[in-house]
């Protein structure tokens, strides 16, 4: 099995170094780029499985780079942003990034996000073979029959709640901004009413989370959007044996 290939675009040498060390220890191969120009070239030639892109680059705008890469590649993008770039990270996500980390960030958090994105990419690429049944925590969802169960109990969701949930499931760990969710669930007329997502997310949490104010799966990215974490895809019953989507991702023990 090939090692996952990670491209890190960052101009600060120390950050590059510790990210590289952490990722290589996880058994991944890492390429470094310091500028937008170099990054563009590396994404095209080295074909990484994941790109980690800093928003503040010396020779250009990280958001523009993401938009450009998105036009010809589906490589997952993890954005690094400083705290004063808060509004920019929403723009970066809307431009096509998949997740973000705010500096300063810790190594465990970085590894968790990288693993989640790699796992997600694998699920997306295996979409044809995947089952319609997904699971997170005690909740199972059958996307084909609209059946939602929490433990053994059937949960009743309204159509909007269900559409919101499926959007999050399709995102599978990707951070979805309020704008993206509003567009997908309610349509363009509602794109400037973020309180809709907040109210419906609260309802979903009440129905699906064990402790709604300390959620484990329906995660809030404050002022950015939402993310579903801990999703697994159940194998088709006919094939037999559970196969979680993240089995192929190498893990450091």
């Amino acid at each position: 099995m090939t090692k996952p290939r990670i491209l890190i675009v960052e101009d600060e040498a120390n950050i590059r170094r510790f990210v590289r060390m952490a990722l290589e220890k996880e058994g991944m191969s890492v390429f470094e780029a310091q500028t937008v120009d170099q990054a563009r070239l590396d994404v095209a030639t080295r074909k990484p499985n994941l790109a980690i892109i800093d928003l503040g680059l010396p020779d250009g705008d990280g958001k523009a780079l993401i938009r450009e890469v998105r036009s010809w590649s589906m490589v997952p993008v993890l954005v690094l942003s400083a705290r004063e770039q808060e509004s920019e990270k929403v723009e970066a996500l809307d431009a096509g990034a998949d997740d973000y980390l705010v500096k300063p960030f810790g190594v465990p958090e970085l590894l968790a996000r990288v693993r989640a994105q790699l796992r997600r990419a694998r699920v997306v690429s295996n979409a044809g073979a995947a089952s319609s049944r997904v699971r997170f925590g005690a909740v199972t969802v059958d996307l084909a029959t609209y059946e939602v169960r929490r433990g053994d109990e059937a949960v009743h969701l309204t159509p909007c709640e269900f559409r919101l949930l499926t959007a999050l499931i399709r995102g599978n760990g990707k951070v979805l901004t309020h704008k993206q969710l509003l567009l997908e669930v309610w349509g363009p007329r509602y794109s400037d009413r973020p309180h809709y997502t907040r109210v419906y997310m609260a309802q979903l949490r009440q129905k699906l989370e064990e402790s709604p104010s300390q959620p484990k799966h329906l995660m809030t990215e404050l002022q950015v959007g939402y993310r579903l974490s801990g999703l697994t895809v159940e194998a088709e019953a006919t094939r037999g044996g559970p196969s979680s989507a993240d089995v192929d991702v190498p893990r450091h023990s």
Binding site: R83, T158, P159, P194, H195, V199, A202, S213, L222, Q223
Partner: protein
């Protein structure tokens, strides 16, 4: 630039009425101008010239323009040569030549004009010499400035007086002003005269003052004494025909022995134009007043008829005299004469033998008739004067009341909008006009505010503002404009422009009203300046406050940042140098570094938030959020230390949305929970809860730890205050201060309370507002 014919009158609709106005504009724009001027167009000599050539010179240039010239070159031509040029057709086209020769270009005229011109230039050279001496002199002694006051009354010859006074002032290099004592006896025509004089004075840039007073000489002397006037210019007129007993004004002033220099100008007194001698204080002659008079006389005759049985006729005269006096006092001169006439007739007809006939048997009654007539005239005169004085007092009172009210209102104004409101509330009704206050922005451009009438022309206003001179209708500049524009001239600079458009233009032509308007303007200017400087002072204060905070921030930060940095550096160096550390020691050191760095991170975040709130004010990014999301996000930030405490959240599922800046509210909760972690031992219970109470959201963070330090809990929220001084617990004492300013910016309050039975509780109250609508879903599937 060469501009020919300085005295030229521009065509109507131009910016300035006269060309010299344009030249002044050019000069103020920094452009040097050469120009030409014939001597007869100089304002101060125009009356002399008029006397010589026999026609009035209309195109005049104020002497100040001439005086301000950097250099004067005199172009002289002997009269014969000039006439030769005229004959050669070099001055006018041939058809005009003969007419010109007959009128202006007479040899006598030309010689006289040449003399005036030579004298004028000689004066100028003389003053140049004086200036040169003054500028070169080491010990420059400034002579006390002379102040010349030209006293005028309403009359035609007074124009000469003003011109003469101005010339004299120029020669003496003295300041000149024209003074008029406004009397109750002045009629409409007099006032028109005074207005003309004021215009003349304004034209030659001499101050004109009109002061109300009963006694002319006293008023003049009083004013001259209090205003440092050194010389009076008086007209030496003839005695008035109706007051032969009164001394001349000049004599009275001379006798007052005031120490003032007096210049008498023998001005021919011109007779008043014929016409009814109508005083404006006189009630109009009406059929009604004559009717009342007739009725009064008839009634008197009836009463007298009854009394005739008991009294002699001479006693009844008193009764008629009384009637005449009453009628004269109330109804004016015409009614008085009519009453006297009727009374005499009635008295003669009914009470003087032979009775019931107009024949008079005793000539002594002629004396009685004459006395009645005199009584009538005197009484009406007295009545008229009383009425006039009452009215002038009333007008003065109204003016004073207005000025006082404007001043009082303005003294309370703290905003430019309030001043604009005062303007429209007091000045507009006073002049029966529309007014607009036009104020400059920070770049000195005028912009009209929303509440102005929309009649104002900003370009004219801008000119007024830039040149600090009145413009618009009734002035020499941009007289085609629809309104009059007055600058707000304050001591430091012009503060704006008042545009005024009265319904009746005569109402502000009046001299008093003009002064009143100017008084209002300067009050407004002062108020505007006061506001400006109050704003500057306020800004400075805010700046100083910010500076003070920044300083205490710096000193606090330098201590609290250094401590963790020293630890990190020391730990890292140990890791670097000690090669034979055991694996556990190594891990311990590394995690200590991480722990210190995390603390630093929190502190820096707080500092950045404080800096953001301080620098940009609090700019909230408010959206409708659910509180449990913010709580969840805050808890995920606090991190692993939480596992050592028993944390419970108490958030009902149906909490309404809150319109808040989520990242700032998250900071509040993080700080409160952080505090609870910092100041309580492991195993403490921490509860975060919220509920909607009425119009507010009540939210609290409670613990059952050791509680708050004794004393006033309020000062915990001040910056750089910590519960325990110099404790080992890291922090700058910014957390709670930040919480308070964030909650305050949301319109809420935060308080520290003692929890029962022990512990601390921080309570936050936030206004709920009205959350946006959520459309109901059409149907469940």
């Amino acid at each position: 630039m060469l501009v020919d014919e300085l005295a030229h009158t521009n065509s109507t609709g131009s910016r300035h009425t006269k060309r010299w106005g344009d030249v002044e504009d050019l000069l103020s724009a920094g452009i040097d101008v050469y120009t030409t001027l014939s001597v007869q167009h100089l304002e101060s000599v125009s009356d002399i010239v008029s006397g010589i050539i026999g026609t009035r010179v209309r195109e005049t240039v104020p002497d100040s323009v001439f005086e301000d010239a950097t250099e004067v070159v005199f172009l002289d031509l002997p009269p014969n040569d000039l006439l030769a040029r005229l004959d050669a057709g070099k001055v006018y086209v041939p058809v005009e030549i003969e007419r010109a020769r007959q009128n202006f270009f007479r040899k006598g005229n030309l010689i006289a004009l040449r003399e005036i011109a030579l004298r004028r230039v000689a004066d100028r050279v003389n003053s140049d010499v004086r200036n040169y001496r003054l500028s070169k002199s080491v010990t420059t002694v400034w002579p006390t400035r002379e102040r010349l006051m030209v006293c005028v009354s309403a009359g035609r010859t007074q124009e000469l007086l003003i011109a003469e006074g101005a010339r004299l002032a120029q020669r003496l290099r003295a300041e000149c002003l024209v003074f008029h004592v406004q009397q109750s006896s002045e009629d409409e025509r007099d006032q028109e005269c005074v207005r003309a004089l004021a215009r003349q004075a304004e034209g030659i840039k001499v101050e004109f003052l009109s002061v109300a007073g009963t006694d002319v000489a006293d008023t003049i002397l009083e004013w001259a004494r209090t205003n440092n006037v050194t010389k009076l210019v008086l007209g030496y007129g003839t005695r008035r025909w109706n007051r032969p007993w009164r001394r001349r004004l000049s004599e009275r002033i001379a006798r007052a022995n005031s120490g003032l220099g007096i210049v008498l100008v023998a001005a021919k007194s011109m007779p008043r134009k014929s016409g009814p001698f109508r005083r404006n204080s006189e009630p109009p002659v009406s059929a009604r007043s004559l009717g009342i008079t007739t009725a009064a006389c008839a009634a008197t005759a009836l009463v007298a008829g009854q009394l005739f049985r008991f009294f002699d006729s001479p006693n009844l005269v008193a009764l008629f005299a009384l009637t005449v006096v009453v009628v004269s006092l109330r109804l004016g001169r015409a009614a008085a004469i009519w009453a006297a006439f009727l009374s005499v007739l009635c008295f003669d007809f009914f009470f003087i033998p032979p009775l019931l006939s107009f024949a008079i048997s005793d000539t002594q009654y002629l004396f009685t008739f004459a006395m009645i007539l005199v009584i009538a005239l005197v009484a009406s005169e007295v009545g008229g004067r009383l009425r006039a004085e009452a009215r002038s007092a009333q007008a003065g009172e109204r003016r004073e009341a207005t000025v006082a009210r404007v001043a009082r209102d303005l003294s309370g104004a703290v905003k430019a909008e309030q001043i604009a409101a005062i303007c429209t509330a007091t000045i507009a009704p006073l002049f029966d006009a529309r007014v607009a206050l036009i104020l400059p922005d920070s770049t000195d451009r005028l912009s009209s505010s929303s509440e102005t009438g929309g009649f104002e022309d900003l370009s004219v206003a801008q000119w007024t503002y830039d040149h600090v001179q009145r413009a618009g209708r009734g002035t020499d500049t941009l007289s085609g404009a629809a309104a009059l524009y007055l600058p707000f001239k304050a001591p430091i600079q012009c503060r704006g422009v008042l545009a005024i458009k009265p319904l009746d233009w005569r109402s502000i032509e009046d001299f008093d009203d003009k002064r009143l308007l100017e008084g209002c303007c300067s009050s407004i200017a002062l108020a505007l300046e006061r506001i400006h400087f109050a704003q500057v002072a306020q800004d400075t204060l805010v700046h100083m406050e910010g500076e003070r905070l920044r300083n205490s921030l710096l000193s606090a930060v330098s201590h609290d940042l250094r401590t963790p940095l020293t630890a990190i550096r020391g730990l890292a160096e140990t890791l670097e140098r000690e090669v034979d550390l055991s694996e556990t020691d190594r891990t311990e050191l590394a995690s200590a570094v991480r722990y210190q760095a995390e603390g630093l991170q929190r502190m820096v975040t707080n500092l950045l938030d404080v800096a953001r709130m301080q620098s940009a004010g609090v700019r909230l990014n408010r959206e409708w959020h659910s509180l449990d999301e913010i709580v969840g996000s805050a808890l995920s930030q606090v991190g692993p230390a939480l596992s050592e405490r028993n944390l419970r959240t108490d958030l009902p599922g149906d909490l309404p949305l809150l319109e808040v800046d989520a990242s700032l509210m998250e900071r509040v909760l993080v700080n409160l929970v952080d505090n609870a972690l910092k100041y309580t031992p492991a195993g403490t219970n921490i509860v975060i809860g919220a509920k909607a109470v009425g119009e507010s959201m009540y939210c609290f963070v409670e613990d059952n730890g050791p509680g708050l330090p004794p004393g006033d809990s309020e000062h915990l929220f001040e910056p750089f205050v910590r519960g325990r001084k110099e404790s080992a617990i890291s922090g700058v004492g910014l957390g709670l201060a930040l919480c308070r300013s964030i909650v305050g910016a949301h319109g809420g309050t935060i308080q520290a309370k003692v929890a029962r039975p022990f512990g601390a509780r921080f309570e936050i109250w936030l206004p709920l507002g009205s959350p946006p609508e959520i459309e109901e879903e059409a149907a469940y599937d």
